[in-house]
């Protein structure tokens, strides 16, 4: 396959970036999108040029590293998949493919296609945890959880924190990510102890990071590699409003 690429090149967060064109002639349709980038970087190395920086780790769709905005969509044209799960057979011979990093105030570009997603880590640190007794391991079936609730929690817990929701949202809102994290603990008995504080703290941190508000366009859920439902956003709204109305925290 012949592929024309337009890739965002940016030295660091303090310099202006631009789209740079590359041509690749011998691309196999069976290559993953990241393998195509490996080929390109190999050619750049041979020519003595600086390689394109991009995030990748597991290459099996569970780490959430491979953040690329491909042809106007987060992780490219496929739904329910990450960039590493996208194959070149999804494109046609001779296609021009535009590749950009996630665009968000809260995700500054580190270099080329790499963005700093530590804003998500800080949101998790603010309330995305449960308190447990340390010491000897507890019995696996000590707390019985009905199957339907476990499934609901698992649907939300599938979130890999890739940031596609932020990238796809017209407001660069992190609502689906934060909602998934609030939701998967809100439905489980283990999550009840910190339930009210969790929603308050995580939403406050989400706002502090500079993410936008939710317009409920549904773009996040469509582009989410784990297809996390908008139901979780509604649950977070309930959790948050409930917490605000009933918690004893009068300072905000």
């Amino acid at each position: 396959m012949k592929i024309n690429l337009k890739v965002w090149r940016q030295k660091n967060n303090n310099t202006e970036g631009k789209l740079v064109e590359y041509q690749l002639d011998k691309i196999s349709p069976d290559m993953s999108f990241l393998e195509m980038f490996d080929v390109l970087n190999g050619e750049l190395t041979k020519k003595g040029e600086e390689i394109i920086a991009f995030d990748h780790d597991c290459r099996e769709g569970i780490c959430g590293s491979c953040s690329m905005y491909i042809n106007g969509r987060a992780h490219g044209p496929q739904t329910g998949a990450t960039t590493c799960q996208l194959h070149m057979r999804s494109f046609n011979d001779g296609d021009t493919i535009v590749v950009e990093p996630w665009r968000s105030r809260a995700f500054p570009v580190i270099k080329d296609l790499m963005v700093d997603r530590t804003a998500f880590d800080r949101v998790i640190q603010s309330g995305g945890y449960v308190s447990v007794n340390t010491g000897s391991a507890r019995d696996a079936n000590e707390t019985l959880i009905p199957r339907s609730i476990a499934d609901e929690a698992m649907d939300a817990a599938q979130c890999i924190g890739c940031g596609a929701c932020v990238a796809a949202c017209k407001n660069a809102s992190a609502m689906l990510f934060v909602a998934a994290k609030v939701s998967h603990m809100a439905v489980l008995p283990q999550g009840q102890a910190e339930s009210t504080e969790r929603a308050e703290r995580m939403v406050a941190q989400m706002d502090a990071e500079g993410f936008g508000a939710c317009s409920f366009t549904g773009a996040c859920s469509v582009e989410c590699p784990k297809s996390i439902s908008l139901d979780h956003i509604a649950r977070m709204n309930r959790e948050y409003l409930g917490a605000k109305l009933t918690s004893t925290n009068v300072q905000g």
Binding site: R73, S173, A204, S215, V222, A234, N237, R238, G252
Partner: protein, 231 residues
């Protein structure tokens, strides 16, 4: 009280304000439409004028009307604040983006649709509300009682084709605005349920986005056709 201001200025709190004011404005549309259906009565405006008399003299209606004005202003102002914030959340835009692949047009253009509606409301209130309250409206007499003849003002305004067109376009805008806005308002309040969300979506799509705008658009068209002797 810090928690109140903090809650209402959070991203979720702002959406709650949008939701509550928006849903209140939606409920007002039902009353407004039902009342204005009197225009179709063909009694040369008597029922309509009696209705407008009631609407401008009933103390409960007058109190609610102030809530209505406040809601319009709060909804518009909060939309502006949210839009500014949302735009600042993505300082560098994508060179190439295909949002149509993942979201409906109306959901992404609520601000533009809302601006059209705000302009419409200003023109609409200048023509009818302002004239009724502060202008010189001719009088009509029914059973020895004097009424402001707002029907005459309606007839005059809707005898102009461009004014009718402006109304029809604005009603298309309100249709798209409510197609997304009505169901979205419930989402912001966390009201989402397997049983009720399909009902909310149905009411939003068909009643608020289709029937209400169509009924409102039919009024200027009907009056125009009547004034010009076409029907």
């Amino acid at each position: 009280m810090a928690w109140v201001t903090q809650t209402l200025s959070s991203s979720l709190g702002r959406k709650v304000i949008m939701s509550l004011t928006g849903l209140f404005l939606s409920s007002f549309l039902i009353v407004h439409m039902a009342g204005n259906l009197q225009l179709f009565k063909g009694d040369n405006g008597r029922a309509f004028n009696e209705y407008t008399y009631f609407m401008t003299h009933n103390p409960v209606i007058i109190t609610v009307s102030y809530l209505l004005y406040t809601s319009i202003l709060a909804h518009a102002l909060m939309a502006w604040v949210l839009t500014r914030h949302n735009q600042s959340s993505r300082p560098v835009k994508y060179a190439y983006s295909r949002p149509e692949a993942n979201s409906p047009w109306s959901s992404r253009n609520m601000g533009i649709l809302g601006t059209v509606l705000l302009l419409f409301i200003i023109i609409h209130m200048r023509t009818f509300w302002y004239e009724m309250h502060f202008g010189s409206v001719p009088m009509a007499e029914y059973d020895g009682k004097q009424y402001k003849d707002l029907y005459a003002v309606v007839k005059e305004a809707f005898s102009q084709w461009w004014y009718v067109l402006l109304y029809v376009i604005s009603m298309v805008a309100i249709g798209f605005h409510l197609a997304h806005g009505f169901q979205s308002g419930f989402q912001s309040l966390g009201i989402r349920h397997t049983k009720y969300t399909p009902m909310i979506e149905f009411v939003g799509r068909y009643f608020f986005a289709l029937i209400i705008p169509a009924a409102f658009a039919a009024m200027p068209i009907y009056v125009f056709l009547q004034v010009h002797g076409i029907i």
